[in-house]
């Protein structure tokens, strides 16, 4: 499009034109990451709303958690270790694709997906064995709302990772210079991980004190 500008006094324009052109093509993947980060900043505040509500309700309660709805610690602790380590694993995948190593990307992303699945399975196991449900009492309300909403995000992250794996089957879909999708799945996974650390501290650790 810049080629069509036939002009004589366009030194300034000419000097800028290639930059504009390049910026337009390079910029697009960048903007997707920007959009995702903006979204996650906003989404983290939705967890913020639930956390604030949790602390508010805890503040007005006489006993927290009420008798009969105590939390179990072993499975969630194992889950935490798995989820936190998966953040490092997924980063290895990102490093691999930066070296053009698609097989490495696939290996680490498959491992991350397995770890994410174990986390979700662990959470379902915990729900089944706790002995109380969503509507049991105010603590149970908060517990299931927060962990459930987080679990939903883990599930979405898992879908993103599977999407990356599906696309990586096509030769040359991802390369050292072109892997925005890989990066976005990784950023999202880190987000889920960070939220879990806050959530774990609030529900499982702070209730001990």
């Amino acid at each position: 499009m810049q080629g069509s500008t036939v002009s004589t006094d366009a030194n300034y324009t000419e000097a800028n034109a290639p930059v504009v052109e390049a910026a337009h093509h390079e910029e697009h993947p960048d903007l997707r990451v920007w959009g995702l980060l903006t979204f996650l900043a906003s989404e983290s505040l939705m967890f913020g709303g639930f956390f604030a509500a949790y602390l508010f309700l805890r503040g007005i309660a006489t006993q927290w958690p009420p008798e009969g709805t105590e939390v179990e610690l072993l499975v969630p602790a194992i889950n935490t270790v798995i989820l936190v380590s998966s953040s490092f694993v997924i980063h290895l995948g990102d490093s691999a694709i930066k070296k053009d190593d698609v097989a490495g990307l696939r290996k680490w992303y498959i491992l991350t997906a397995i770890m994410g699945t174990i986390f979700l399975a662990g959470q379902i196991y915990e729900y089944k064995t706790l002995g109380y449900g969503l509507a049991s009492n105010i603590f149970a309300n908060c517990f299931y709302l927060m962990t459930g909403f987080h679990g939903l995000h883990v599930f979405v992250g898992l879908l993103l990772i599977l999407g990356v794996l599906w696309r990586s089957r096509r030769p040359n879909h991802y390369s050292a210079t072109k892997h925005t999708g890989v990066e976005m799945a990784e950023i999202y996974w880190h987000f889920v991980d960070i939220i879990w650390i806050v959530l774990f501290s609030l529900i499982y650790i702070l209730t001990r004190f």
Binding site: M1, S42, A61, F149
Partner: protein, 560 residues
């Protein structure tokens, strides 16, 4: 040359609007921000009329002291739907529509950052509009808990149906929230990353600053409302007890979550209106915007302060004294950046060569109404006074001066000012001035009486009242019907002028701004060559060019 430009569009890889220049493109999943902007504006104006009909039904009921026109439950549904429609289906989408149309043009971009996301966000508006309207058809009718949906009222489900008015209300508000978040991500990314070469932050028009400030509020505020709505929905449907005090919950928690978003939401609405004033006054006063940089930054200060004022809606909700003091102080602080803007506009107009066209009249009227609303706003910020008039018509009068006096008048100013740009036609000045006269008169007749009523103690949201309040209620009702009539010359003007108005050239107002350098209406990708901005905005009275390549912005358009 033509071939080259076609190749260029193919390279960019953005889908062009489906149908080319005919009316059908407005009914397509077009990704052109200008088409989407007009889709938003027309859709939201339709819902403005719907909300207006609800308002006139309410005022029809209130013209006599007895509850005689409507059943009380229908009356409750009317004020709930009036508030919900006016906020979620008129003010938010109409301002998003205007911003959608103007922001890419004003910053010299070819489109928004995410065109498909933009289109998807728009098409959610008719979806949740239909969902909300469908609540008239479910047993028990629409939600009756007011647009705040405070528990415990909103938790009552007298018909016992799973799908009831309140559930549909929450669903509609949730979809509206998703649509707003998608829009906010798009605007913030576009403004930060897609400005034309040379378009530095302090060369952006004040309108873009206000949109940026408003959309940041959406990003940090809406999640709180969504969180509250999710908890409310669980309380209604699956029997949790977040807001039920008998089971350890607390209804005040909902008020916190609701107002943490819904007070800043007022700034989401008013900030772009401030931007419209900042654009319109310099054009018709032929003077640069006074104190441009301070006006621009004050928008962000409002954004910051808006996050720490919400409890002033809850002075009467058992809020402890120290908290009242804190939030009274923060609320009053908002008047500082707002006052800066008001004085800047007055200084812009001062000594200018005023052209009293319709947009200028609406902007001046809107500014005057806003100052009045600001005065009552400061009164309400004061906790002792607020507790006295809490839940009375004084509050209703205050926010209608903001929402109708400032926001609707400001929107009308924008409609007229950018009408030639959007349609390529001129509107009828005579009809415009008639519209202005009716609107100004109707606004004051309708909303001024609410202040004495409130001071005398008439509560809001009641279908019947003591006969001593009758006089002012009759005046207000006459004003409401006048406001209903005032939309007729506007609709006639917009449709008639679009069909057969005089052709408008690029810049009928001799305004300065990137959008006025391209043809009316602009071509699908706005600029054939991105503008290279070399000057600050509002260079009225100076003869320096705004861009270095003004003659090349539309090369391909000329050759097509």
């Amino acid at each position: 040359m033509t071939n080259l430009s076609v190749d260029a569009t193919a390279q960019v890889g953005q889908p062009l609007p489906g149908a080319p220049n005919n009316w059908k493109r407005f009914f397509s999943f077009s990704t052109d921000h200008k088409v989407i902007g007009i889709q938003y504006l027309v859709t939201s104006f339709f819902f403005f009329l719907v909300g207006g009909v609800f308002a006139m039904i309410i005022r029809g009921e209130l013209i006599t002291p007895e509850a005689d026109l409507l059943d009380r439950t229908v009356y409750n549904a009317m004020f709930t739907m009036h508030g919900t429609v006016m906020l979620f289906l008129w003010t938010f989408p109409s301002l998003v529509g205007l911003s959608n149309y103007l922001v890419p043009l004003m910053i010299g971009a070819k489109d928004m950052a995410f065109p498909r996301l933009n289109a998807a966000a728009f098409w959610m508006v008719p979806v949740f509009g239909v969902i909300l309207m469908a609540s008239f058809l479910v047993p028990g009718g629409p939600s009756q808990s007011g647009w705040w949906a405070y528990p415990p009222v909103s938790l009552q489900n007298p018909t016992g149906n799973f799908i009831n008015g309140q559930v549909l209300w929450i669903l509609a508000v949730a979809i509206s929230g998703v649509s707003s978040i998608m829009g906010a991500i798009n605007f913030v990314t576009t403004i930060v990353r897609m400005r034309a070469p040379g378009m530095t932050w302090f060369r952006m028009p004040a309108f873009v600053w206000t949109v940026f400030a408003a959309q940041i509020i959406q990003l940090f505020g809406l999640p709180a409302l969504t969180a509250g709505a999710v908890m409310l929905l669980l309380d209604i449907t699956v029997g949790t007890s977040f807001f039920d005090p008998a089971k350890g919950g607390d209804p005040v928690l909902f008020q916190h979550l609701f107002w943490f978003y819904s007070h800043p939401a007022v700034y989401v609405i008013i900030l772009p209106i401030f931007g419209i004033f900042s654009e319109i006054f310099p054009v018709y006063a032929r003077k640069p915007l006074f104190g441009y940089k301070v006006v621009a930054v004050s928008s962000l200060i409002i954004t910051g302060l808006s996050g720490i004022v919400w409890v002033h809606h809850m002075f009467a909700s058992g809020t402890p004294g120290w908290m009242r003091m804190v939030f009274m102080a923060t609320t009053m602080l908002i008047s500082v950046p707002t006052g800066i803007k008001v004085f800047a506009w007055v200084a812009t107009i001062w000594g200018g060569k005023l052209r009293l066209t319709t947009p200028m009249l609406f902007a001046l009227g809107g500014l005057t109404m806003f100052v009045f609303a600001g005065v009552t706003g400061i009164m309400l910020a004061s906790a002792p006074f607020d507790i006295h008039v809490n839940n009375t018509y004084f509050v209703v009068g205050h926010f209608h001066y903001v929402i109708y006096g400032a926001v609707v008048m400001g929107m009308y100013a924008a409609f007229y000012h950018w009408f030639p740009k959007m349609t390529g036609r001129m509107y009828s000045e005579g009809l415009g001035k008639l519209h202005f006269a009716l609107t100004l008169l109707g606004t004051n007749l309708n909303f001024l009486p609410m202040h004495p009523l409130g001071l005398q103690g008439m509560p809001r949201r009641v279908a019947s009242y003591d006969p001593e309040f009758a006089f002012w209620n009759v005046v207000a009702s006459i004003g409401a019907f006048l406001l209903g009539m005032s939309t007729l010359p506007f609709i006639l003007n917009m449709i008639g002028s679009w069909v057969q108005g005089e052709k408008a050239d690029k810049n009928p107002w001799r305004a300065i701004g990137l959008e006025w350098l391209v043809s009316s209406p602009p071509t699908p990708e706005n600029f054939e060559e991105l503008p290279i901005v070399v000057a600050e905005p509002y260079g009225y009275g100076k003869s320096e060019p705004l861009v270095a390549n003004a003659d090349k912005l539309e090369v391909a358009h000329e050759s097509r």
